[in-house]
């Protein structure tokens, strides 16, 4: 069972819908026991960073704990940004600190928010992109991005006039700046790959 963290914020349902669509058992929950028992957890998010962090509240520590214990964790959009150390969106906010780096504004000189389908180069050694080929379009909608500063993290980039980190993987911790649940069939394959990762970690 994959647990999507329910922390009173937009978009959580869309992620559940997408997992159900691919035939994957998923539960929307904020119960500590459900999080501990899950095969994998998903931290979604459509919100401003500060609002999301405060909405997460005490769940933050639990998510950190289970992620560090080796359980697969997938952060999406603001849920992905929260994996990092800090953000400067509408003030200074601490993230979960699971991946080294800070969330900063997209540099000026281009249309912001970065909104729409951007081509992403898919490194062969990133599990989320298994069987997807060398590049695919995904849907982005954000004004801030994570500057990845973690030597243990693998990073996939999108070209938005600069190398924009689009996805990271650090051991069992995964994140996508784009929305796999809103990226059509290609996005659903990312979620299938995550479900596969969870199954491998938790053989029945």
């Amino acid at each position: 069972m994959i647990v999507v963290i329910d922390y009173n914020i937009g978009n959580v349902k869309s992620v559940c819908n997408a997992f159900r669509h691919i035939g994957c058992e998923v539960e929307l929950s904020c119960e500590p026991q459900a999080v501990k028992d899950a095969d994998g957890i998903v931290l979604p998010g459509v919100a401003a960073f500060g609002y999301a962090v405060s909405a997460l509240g005490a769940l933050a520590e639990l998510i950190k704990e289970v992620a560090l214990s080796g359980k697969p964790l997938l952060g999406i959009c603001v849920g992905y940004q929260m994996l990092f150390d800090k953000s400067s969106e509408y003030g200074r906010h601490d993230g979960l600190g699971l991946i080294c780096g800070n969330v900063v504004p997209i540099p000026p000189g281009r249309v912001i928010p970065h909104m729409g389908w951007n081509l992403v180069e898919l490194p062969e050694d990133m599990d989320l992109f298994a069987r997807l080929g060398s590049e695919k379009h995904f849907y982005f909608a954000h004004s801030f991005y994570a500057e990845v500063a973690d030597s243990q993290a693998r990073v996939a980039f999108a070209d938005y006039g600069f190398d924009l980190p689009a996805s990271v993987q650090k051991a069992n911790i995964y994140g996508t700046q784009f929305h796999p649940e809103k990226s059509g069939k290609t996005g659903l394959k990312i979620l299938e790959n995550f479900a596969q990762i969870c199954r491998q970690k938790n053989p029945t």
Binding site: G10, S14, V46, A47, M115, W117, F140, K182, G184
Partner: protein, 254 residues
């Protein structure tokens, strides 16, 4: 590279798509969910659902519609029409909409844009502007509200810039002069707005042939083109639009 977006717009009344829809082999051409799913499957980049009744009674209907769309459509979609409060925006986002567009309410209460963007992030706050060429001030456009029925003294370019400053993350710009003419988008308007703001702009109103899409992107400088009748009536498929744009050197997600 970021691609230019093709966005079909579905006008919804009493849970049905109106303006008529006549393409593909739909069992029920008026069902917004089925139509949305078909567009998603045939390559649309995004969808817009506009509640054209936008009454208190229709509010509940539109939330249920959003929930059903979200269960079946795995591309982003925007919902608009009569939205007045942050709580309504919250409800629609929670129900599965990616973005919410505000129009009349933002003119009356510009602070709505700020409140919404600080809470949900500006990427989900779309400012819809209905623009009409001003008779009194040639070369200018005036903002119209209440589904375009009520002109105001507000200048479109100034309002677009102010909207960005207040927290809008995108502008859905409808030319009321071009809408329904099929004679092309108003690219003077599009250019004036895209020059004045740094957020994405969606051109709306006037699409008739494929070249109009290209012109809006090149001459109008827009990031996305919205259309209704030319795709609902089956004149062009989404794929034809994208292949045409790609053949003219525009990056699209084919």
């Amino acid at each position: 590279m970021l691609t230019k977006r093709i966005i079909p717009c579905l006008d919804v009344k009493d849970n049905r798509v109106v303006k008529g829809v006549n393409f593909l082999n739909l069992r029920d051409a008026g069902d917004p969910v089925e139509l949305g799913a078909r567009y998603s499957d045939t390559g649309a980049d995004e969808l817009v659902f506009l509640d054209i009744t936008a009454t208190i009674r229709s509010r509940k209907t539109i939330v249920e519609l959003v929930e059903r769309v979200a269960e079946n459509v795995f591309i982003p979609f925007t919902v608009g029409g009569g939205i007045q409060t942050v709580e309504q925006i919250d409800e629609l986002l929670r129900s599965g909409a990616e973005k919410v567009s505000v129009n009349t309410a933002a003119v009356g209460n510009p602070n709505l844009l700020t409140e919404a963007s600080q809470r949900f992030g500006n990427q989900c706050v779309v400012l819809a502007i209905d623009a009409r060429r001003s008779k009194e001030r040639p070369g200018k456009w005036q903002v119209c509200v209440k589904a375009g029925s009520e002109p105001t003294d507000i200048d479109v370019i100034e309002w677009a810039a102010k909207g960005e400053e207040l927290g809008a993350g995108e502008i859905l710009l409808t030319s009321m002069d071009a809408d329904g003419t099929k004679a092309g988008y108003d690219n003077e308007l599009n250019k004036a707005v895209t020059d004045a703001v740094n957020i994405p702009v969606i051109a709306s109103g006037g699409a008739g042939i494929l070249e109009h899409l290209y012109d809006a992107i090149i001459d109008g400088g827009v990031d996305a083109v919205l259309m209704a009748s030319i795709t609902h009536f089956g004149n062009y498929t989404i794929r034809q639009m994208k292949e045409y744009l790609a053949s003219r050197g525009i990056a699209v997600n084919l």
